[in-house]
Symmetry: C2
Subunit: 408 residues, 2 copies
């Protein structure tokens, strides 16, 4: 039998989950682990009670069957109102809002819908790992532009435009430009001026903008967030968002896609998305009702999210300081999201790659991180800033001790 | 701008949902519709209370975060026990069981994992609509073998083998052979002898078997069901199943994949599936706990499913008789599942296609069916046998009246 797997399935991966077999082995042996690999707030902050209550109400009312493939109208309306409230944006619930199985499915739909083998997409590294692998499993060829870590993860947009032009002159088709803002894994927040340049480049080169803004309410004090939708009018753009991160309900699997435009490309995408949604029938019905309340109950939400973001900001700042006291790591403190993305000084360690670093750290110290190379950021690790300060301090101490033991 | 959509996205469709815009228009105008298009038991039979209770318990216990990408161990174990109980099958919960966002995601994983553009898969027509479109959006080229409607939807396996040989001689790669058993849309149940021939053909030609058995507990009296897993030992096979149909919980979006084999191909597929699961993080966490109880509470489940299947069998038999009294339609009565798939006598109607039939029937009589051509069965319609006899009788009377009005 010749190779059974498809050619592009070799790209299927998610670095965040790849140490699971080792985790299971260690836990089976009774080892207590510090799992700082996955951005799951529900492990550290209980999902707000008013959302749970709405979920239970939906179940008791018999909301258990199939619903609209694009999502229940109530939730699409809540999302529409949310964008009106936060960004003064008018997106009709029936024209450009699609509820998905988390942002994960938004990646899938976008790539399945747009990407032929050999098509390109612009990605800024470090990128969210599934943003990359989700594109590659459709045969896409990424055009990578790296953020400048030494310049606070800023973006050289002139270099970006030159790269794009070069590929287009060679006849390459660039289907979209992917942004994750705030960034996962770095926690950087793109400034308005940079975003305006990105929009300009997209416009000049007929490239669709795809912006994953799932952390848009997890912004630390003193930083301003701009949604691409506020400045991309007239340029086709797709926004990903969802309930997992600011409503602290990762396990409900409710995300959404917004296509605010009415240009020809946006209209084509919206029509096609209806078909993709229909093929998987619908997203969790009772969870959609829960998230409708989660968004609509503004008073409860504000109370919850304010406390939540304040706690994360403190933890991130605390952990950044500790990391920067280590002689083996350095981190640019994040401005939003849940993550720290320190650079490892590999020249001082007897380890070859960040992958080896992560695996051995788990085996030896019971601390689980995610390798930076999984995000296109070699010689880095990603850790979540969600646990308590005590847990973070203990974990960082262990990482430092591990580095000490592996110094050369 | 050149074409924005990918080449294969043109195949994205689900005939079951395609009349939704007309439905919305009619309902907005206050029209009451008989929707017999979608196999959603929760609209007619409440989801069992013991499952709802387990769901609520999970929510109250804070089961709201991410869990194992392959599914919670408790649910994988429940699935393992189910296959032991029903089919004397040994599949370890940690080796060959994967929880998915419904069977819809099982289609997606299989096709993304196995199909290169130009690869073939054998499909028996009429097939489940997403079985076909889900394959084609990856560039797959179906090799269709039609069931013989005039011979109770039986399969000519000799003709099948000849077709397969011909394609292989021409250098085509046939990746898998797809079965839906019991059949959606016909309700036919494949006999053991036919299944044995299918397994033999798969074995002789190195083709993976993919069997969608989501209706395996919805079998009418006097019919025996055989799972492909009972007879395909040694031949690589993937089984789809889930909670939607026999546990009456379509809106929870919990399905599963079983790969019982330990041959090289099955092992390769299992390893790769871990990556695909990881890319979308997990399936609804509280719903997985609910379905764990749904499967494990055998006593409650037996009570519920026995009543449920008895009711559906009666309704299907009742509706079959009524349909066969019409001079415009004929149906082979189903042996399982939820559906009737009557053939329309188009020669007697002033309508060109079953698509036109379905659309006009909806507009004129407010009865919503699904066009047979969406299942690879031209000049047919699919209707669900789930509503009450009164509703079915009223709908069939309207269909007959519609035919009368469109006779020529």
């Amino acid at each position: 039998m010749t190779e059974i797997l498809s050619e592009f399935s070799k790209y299927a991966e998610n670095a965040i989950e790849e140490e699971n077999p080792t985790v299971q082995k260690l836990e089976k042996a009774g080892k207590k682990l510090a799992k700082l690999n996955i951005g799951d707030p529900a492990r550290f902050f209980p999902t707000p009670k008013y959302i749970i209550d709405a979920y239970i109400k939906a179940l008791k009312e018999g909301k258990t069957g199939y619903v609209d493939p694009e999502g229940i109208p109530e939730l699409r309306e809540a999302v529409s109102n949310r964008y009106k409230r936060l960004y003064s944006l008018d997106v009709n619930k029936d024209d450009g809002i699609f509820i998905t199985h988390g942002v994960s499915e938004a990646f899938l739909f976008t790539n399945s819908m747009l990407v032929n083998p050999g098509d390109m997409a612009v990605m800024f590294a470090p990128y969210y790992t599934v943003s990359y692998s989700g594109f590659r499993i459709f045969g896409g060829e990424p055009l990578i532009q790296e953020y400048g870590e030494e310049r606070d993860w800023s973006l050289d947009t002139d270099e970006l435009e030159t790269k794009i032009r070069r590929q287009m002159n060679e006849g390459k088709r660039i289907k979209y430009m992917a942004i994750t803002n705030p960034s996962n894994p770095t926690g950087m927040v793109l400034g308005r001026k940079t975003l305006e340049r990105i929009v300009e480049i997209a416009k000049n080169n007929d490239i669709v903008l795809v912006s994953d803004e799932i952390y848009d309410e997890v912004i630390f004090d003193g930083t301003e967030f701009t949604s691409i939708a506020q400045i991309a009018k007239g340029v086709p753009h797709i926004i990903y968002n969802g309930a997992s991160k600011d409503l602290d309900s990762t396990g409900f699997r409710v995300g959404f896609m917004l296509i605010p435009g009415n240009d020809r490309v946006s209209e084509t995408i919206k029509r096609k998305l209806v078909d993709f949604c229909a093929m998987r029938l619908c997203v969790s019905t009772p969870a959609q009702y829960a998230i409708t309340e989660g968004i609509n109950n503004i008073k409860e939400h504000r109370l919850e999210v304010t406390e939540f973001v304040k706690a994360i900001a403190e933890r991130a700042s605390f952990a950044s300081k500790l990391i920067n006291e280590s002689e083996y790591m350095h981190v640019v403190p994040p401005r939003g999201a849940y993550y720290l993305f320190p650079k490892l000084d590999m020249s001082r360690l007897d380890l070859k790659t960040d992958k080896e670093f992560v695996h051995k750290l788990l085996e030896e110290e019971g601390v689980l991180l995610t390798r930076g190379s999984g995000f296109g950021g070699n010689d880095h690790v990603r850790l979540v800033a969600l646990p308590s300060k005590e847990t973070l301090a203990a974990a960082i101490e262990k990482i430092d001790k591990f580095c000490e033991g592996h110094s050369r």
